[in-house]
Symmetry: none
Subunit: 141 residues, 4 copies
């Protein structure tokens, strides 16, 4: 299945609501399709200028590798040269820390990723999972 | 003044409504702040994958140069080497055709730009102007 | 629908057979998915080293813009600054001459593109259309 | 000798058959010539979008350096600054983990490389060696 803009908007709205409810810092939330292309993005007021690149890099690395960005972060500790090189292969568009969450449909197919940046990376990931579930998708964080 | 996410969301919602009302093709709409950084983006269903890059390039070129992208297109005809070189200076992040609309506040200060891609570039710009006005801003297209 | 590797292989085999049958020069044929990512590629013996980049650029520009590369070439004559800038926005991955053919499924949805380089660009496109049709897809050249 | 497309196709078909027989995850397999240019590539269904870049980076780093990518990974542990810098010198087109296998002819001359990504890097390399041998080449993994 193909992710719709309505689903992407639901993911972003829910992730932001989760952040407000839990008292997180301002969040930036991007939703990418399975090809790593941006469907929707919002950056909350008070965020620094670089949030798009960080949120995008979390989601892009995850969807390109088929691996949640939290796991990419563990791999970066185990084999730093591999993750550094993969980042180079993706022209720097890979940020290997939690907050890049894979989105799967009911058949398990990878349909995209949500990337969040703003609070701790664990909280970022929690907000992403909440968003994914609200859109009827399975999150892999 | 600083552009807020609420204003960016209003710009996008209004531009999209304008597009639907006028029977335009699926639109992609990005709002950038005065630093050229993404505040919000939405890509309507049925758009090809490259729409973010084109919409972003229109808005980014406009806000970086302080000139609407339609005027950058005229400059590209008058002095092609200048606009080509400026595009290189911005790492390719400049698309000099209509649809990158400057956003100004009540004092005339440049606060950002909206970039639209999907229909004819004239229609793209019309949708952007509608969005800007709905957010209480002055559009320069 | 998602393009399969078997479909991509059929496209390549048929395009190559068309080229042999019509006495074309050695062909290079790439098939991309809707996100612009490579599914399959073959370069016939006797081709120069740069054929992958050219075939890829034709198909990538087409699928990113949702426009066959032949039409991108016409646009490059009408508005050279636009097509030059779009190429920059895609990091040079756009070659606006015939031979980048859009692939659509039965519902008309864009599912990818085939890019061919080696003979005249008109012949390149003919081979791509033959490949697309053999895979049960609608070609837009 | 110069690697032919038929040899490249044999390498890919055999590596894929090896993967299916051994129950590996979906594989992506690229064959490069001695100049580091793509001869053929196939990405099995169910692979994430970034597989071409990773498989290519393994093979490209190997053939550019004349060293199997597994050995580049060991060098990355011994002298991280060297491998990081070499990756930069090749514009990020070098992924120093197993799965980029050198291809040599009967005289020992380097004629290209096969790069595989999808399963563990050790399994990736095994599939590449099987492919090389089926094409009458000596594999250096």
């Amino acid at each position: 299945m193909t992710l719709t803009l309505d689903q992407a908007r639901t993911i972003i709205a829910t992730a932001r609501a989760k952040g407000r409810e839990a008292g997180m810092k301002p969040l930036s939330v991007v939703v990418l399709d399975a090809g790593g292309h941006v469907l929707a993005f919002e950056r909350e007021d008070g965020s620094p200028s670089g949030r798009f690149a960080i949120a995008f890099g979390k989601a892009h690395g995850a969807v390109m590798m088929g691996v949640p960005s939290r796991r990419l972060g563990e791999m970066a500790v185990e084999r730093p040269h591999f993750i550094a090189a993969a980042g180079g292969a993706f022209d720097g568009k890979m940020v290997p820390v939690a907050g890049g969450v894979l989105l799967r449909d009911a058949t398990g197919a990878l349909v995209g990723a949500v990337g969040i940046s703003g609070d701790t990376s664990d909280n970022d990931a929690l907000a992403g999972v909440a968003g994914a579930e609200a859109a009827g998708l399975t999150a892999e964080a």
